[in-house]
């Protein structure tokens, strides 16, 4: 028996060594799709947490990273936020992902998007295993991966979880180009993502804070289809599995042990695509009641526009970029209201400014640094049509575009409902190599304005503003296209 055991051991060891060698080439890594985004997100959080502490961590499935703009959230709350959502994942996976993150950073606030708290498991939902695998393979902590394996996967899926070359061995026959590119080391995972996605990264580290959607909003045809064919999501038939209920308790305990505040967030779907949300709201409310945690349900008291949702006839569809701005604004207000003392202000910290200063999201919430030559201040604490404009300036964001913003406060604008106004500027500018006088319309920005301040913001071509002749508030009589739908 000793002889065969030794032989068996040697042969098994050689086979394992060969498999590990093949694995180490990364030849079987997927080079496209959501696998890459999930990897990039995890790589970024590992990079980020080498030096920084994350303050607000958002977790969930794809609805989380399509629903919230982490840059906007960070700038608005002067903190560092990050979304570690994985497409189509389950709450069980979210729990283990949070455990992994806790080994590196302790967020002040954990926001769980509720769509991942469902009845999905990979035995009842096709594709869920693939989703969990994406999230699992992106993690690097060997011990925590090992601990989570028996809970996340059935025995037969262990090799798929641990070995990409086994999981994707069919590339040999079906995805030869993928193999070839991996073997030639082009493109690297991060490099391929960075291409054409400059607004997904911030700061000199080019860290990935989570993706938000850039798709167009709902069009008339799809809206009519929702009306005609009816909603695709029924709150009365949505339920949470016992496993997920158990993991909710576990997550709550984990948060208590680590002094992490926990809240729930529901990113909305288009109002006509869901029915009986109140039934689910009641049901889920009862489940989380014993946890005594806050829940921001954006499907409730719904005031979103069709332009906030992807132009698809689909259950649990995503929000657009505009939609994510709108959701983020509501989350910011909620955090300001409920967790004001919890979230530290990092706006004077060098590392925070390195990440967020001179981004499009920074200026609506913060003033430009004094003597910043890149920022051309046009108005500063001046009366325009009877309203004190605190700041109006231009800065170049990238080589392709710049922004002009204007800020005032509610007190200063008491006589006018500035929602219906644009800030109009007549200026002498140098644009496309030509000097000319132009009128610039800076519209009211609902997503950046709140109960205290009013913001006007627009993107422009790169400009050199030589002289401001005049500024005024111009009434906007036309309804926006989405309002007229």
């Amino acid at each position: 028996m000793k002889r065969i055991t030794i032989k068996f051991f040697i042969i098994s060891s050689i086979i394992i060594a060969v498999v590990l060698k093949i694995e180490s080439t990364n030849a079987f890594n997927p080079i496209s799709g959501t696998d890459l985004y999930t990897h990039a997100r995890w790589n970024s959080i590992y990079d980020l947490t080498e030096k920084d502490t994350i303050d607000i961590l958002i977790m969930g499935n794809s609805r989380s990273y399509n629903g919230i703009n982490p840059k906007q959230l960070s700038c608005a709350t002067s903190s560092l936020s990050f979304i570690i959502g994985a497409p189509g994942t389950t709450f069980k996976d979210t729990y283990f992902s949070f455990k992994e993150i806790l080994k590196r950073t302790k967020p002040k606030l954990l926001v769980i998007e509720t769509y991942c708290i469902n009845n999905f498991s990979y035995t009842n939902s096709s594709g869920t295993l693939q989703s969990i695998l994406k999230s699992f393979s992106a993690k690097i902590n060997f011990k925590s991966k090992l601990e989570s394996t028996p809970f996340l996967f059935g025995v037969n899926d262990w090799p798929y979880a641990w070995l990409t070359s086994i999981r994707n061995h069919n590339y040999i026959f079906d995805e030869k180009q993928n193999l070839k590119e991996n073997i030639e080391k082009t493109p690297q995972i991060e490099e391929s993502i960075k291409k054409g996605s400059d607004n997904k990264y911030v700061g000199k580290y080019q860290l990935y804070l989570g993706k938000y959607n850039g798709n167009s909003g709902l069009k008339k045809k799809v809206i009519e289809r929702y009306k005609k064919e009816g909603p695709l999501t029924n709150g009365a038939t949505r339920f949470v599995s016992d496993t997920h209920k158990e993991y909710l308790k576990k997550l709550n305990t984990l948060c208590l042990e680590n002094n992490v505040e926990l809240m729930f967030l529901t990113i909305p779907v288009y109002s006509e695509s869901i029915k009986n949300h109140d039934v689910f709201r009641n049901y889920f409310g009862k489940i989380i009641k014993p946890l005594n945690r806050n829940w921001l349900d954006l499907q409730n008291n719904y005031d979103f526009l069709p332009s906030h949702f992807d132009n698809v006839y689909k259950a649990a569809h995503h929000t657009t970029a505009d939609g994510s701005f709108a959701c983020t604004k509501k989350l910011v207000d909620f955090i300001d209201n409920k967790y004001q003392d919890l979230i530290p202000s990092r706006k004077s910290e060098k590392s925070w400014l390195e990440k967020f200063y001179n981004t499009e999201e920074y200026f609506p919430y913060h003033s430009a640094i004094n003597n910043d030559k890149k920022v051309i201040k046009l108005i500063e604490n001046k009366n325009v049509d009877g309203i004190i404009v605190k700041e109006c300036a231009y800065t170049s964001i990238t080589q392709k575009y710049g922004i002009i913003w204007g800020k005032t406060t509610i007190n200063d604008s008491i006589n006018k409902n500035l929602k219906n106004y644009n800030l109009g500027l007549i200026a002498k500018v140098k644009m496309d190599g030509e000097v000319k006088n132009i009128q610039i319309i800076v519209p009211y920005s609902d997503i950046h304005s709140n109960g205290k301040k009013i913001v006007f913001l627009t993107r422009t071509k790169p400009l050199e503003i030589q002289q401001l002749y005049r500024a005024s508030f111009i009434e906007n009589k036309k309804k926006s296209p989405e309002e007229s739908i």
Binding site: I4, I15, P159, Y160, S165, I166, R167, F173
Partner: protein
Amino acid sequence: MLFNSFEFLLFFITVAFTYFILKDKWRWALLLGASYFFYGSWNISYLILILLSTVTTFYSGILIEKIPSQKKNITFSSLAINLGILFFFKYYNFFATTVNSLNEDTLPFFDSLLPVVGISFYTFQALSYTMDVYNGKIISQKHIGKYALFVSFFPQLVAGPIEKASNLLPQFSENKIFNYDRVRSGLLLIVWGIFKKVVIADRIGIFVSEVYNAPSESYGVINIIATILFSFQLYLDFSSYSEIAIGSARIFGYKLSINFKRPYLSVSFKDFWKRWHITLNAWFFEYLYLPLGGNKKKGITTIRNIIIIFLVSGLWHGASWNFVIWGGINSIYLLVIERFLQSKKKKKKKLFGKIFFGTIIMLLWSASLVFFRANTFEDALTIYSNMNFSGIENLYDFGLNKLTFKITIRLLILVYVIELFQELGFTENKIFNAPIIIRWLIYLILPLSTLYFGAYGLDSSDSSFIYFQF
């Protein structure tokens, strides 16, 4: 728990190591526990059925010997209970559908009646025990644990080989000493079986499924190729299961019966049925064909008996008229075409003749398998009616690209060549006596190529063995 799964690998290694550590007198208990765990892993409620079958046949065996005057009634009762269970779980809905189609809504239909994995196999094995005790061929087993192991022995539980009690039961009472050569040979058989199943049969299965699951979308030569390929898929799938079963049992020291003996090298249909699913055919021969009179009375009685055997065998495979038709076609082959082949006896002895007749048999057998593989009777007719020699340009549109198709065909040829060598007397000992480099290359290449060239994974469709459904 499939043989071709990681779960089974862990299970088997654990059971095998524990088996050899345990004292001999407790090994049956380990194997019985492992067998019930193995079977229960599909569905825990299956255990109730196998326990019922075990208890009834075990006590009927004892009672047959204790009360000889009642042995007919006891045997009949045992057969009735076991065949009743088999009928209800496997055939009831089919029966109800057939009756209801003649006389609307006469019988209720049970949607929740799920097929029970392996029920035909262990029921036949248990019944053979009862009939052997009744016929006085064996004495009844007095140890219920060992008898339960005979019915449920995990290597052959769900898809055979169907063992006779006289072969397997005594082995559970023997002292099994660890034997290096035996274990090595068992391991090689397992690895070879898994390679054939995962790398070749399942790859062919992708093509066959694409064609047979949407028969109206394929036509011409594609249907012919898919049908011929299915005959290889079926053979490789089922024979690999048998080899893994035999190899697994061999490691523990038990000798299971050979189930396949290179059937595609047959020179006649009679020869084919002696090489194909040998243990099932032997069962039908002994417990149905002979009691019906066999071929004692020449002429019409023999013809009747052969037809009955094939129709019942067809029905054994599945609760569908397709299987009955498949059985019927094969009875015609044996009764009609076999006569023609017999008349060409001299030619068959020459190599060319062997290849020629072997090819004819294989093609006719493949043609009958259309009914075996098609999902419905209408699908089978569609496949047949769309067969012609056009459309070869669509060959790579059915799940296998050019590279995969070519590799698969080359591997099929490799298996064919290996079988030719085996037919000429090449045994595994040649491998064990080969230089160490060749031996170790085989030990390493088979599992590694299964891992990297196998048709398995998250995107693969069902990878279970075809005969599990029977």
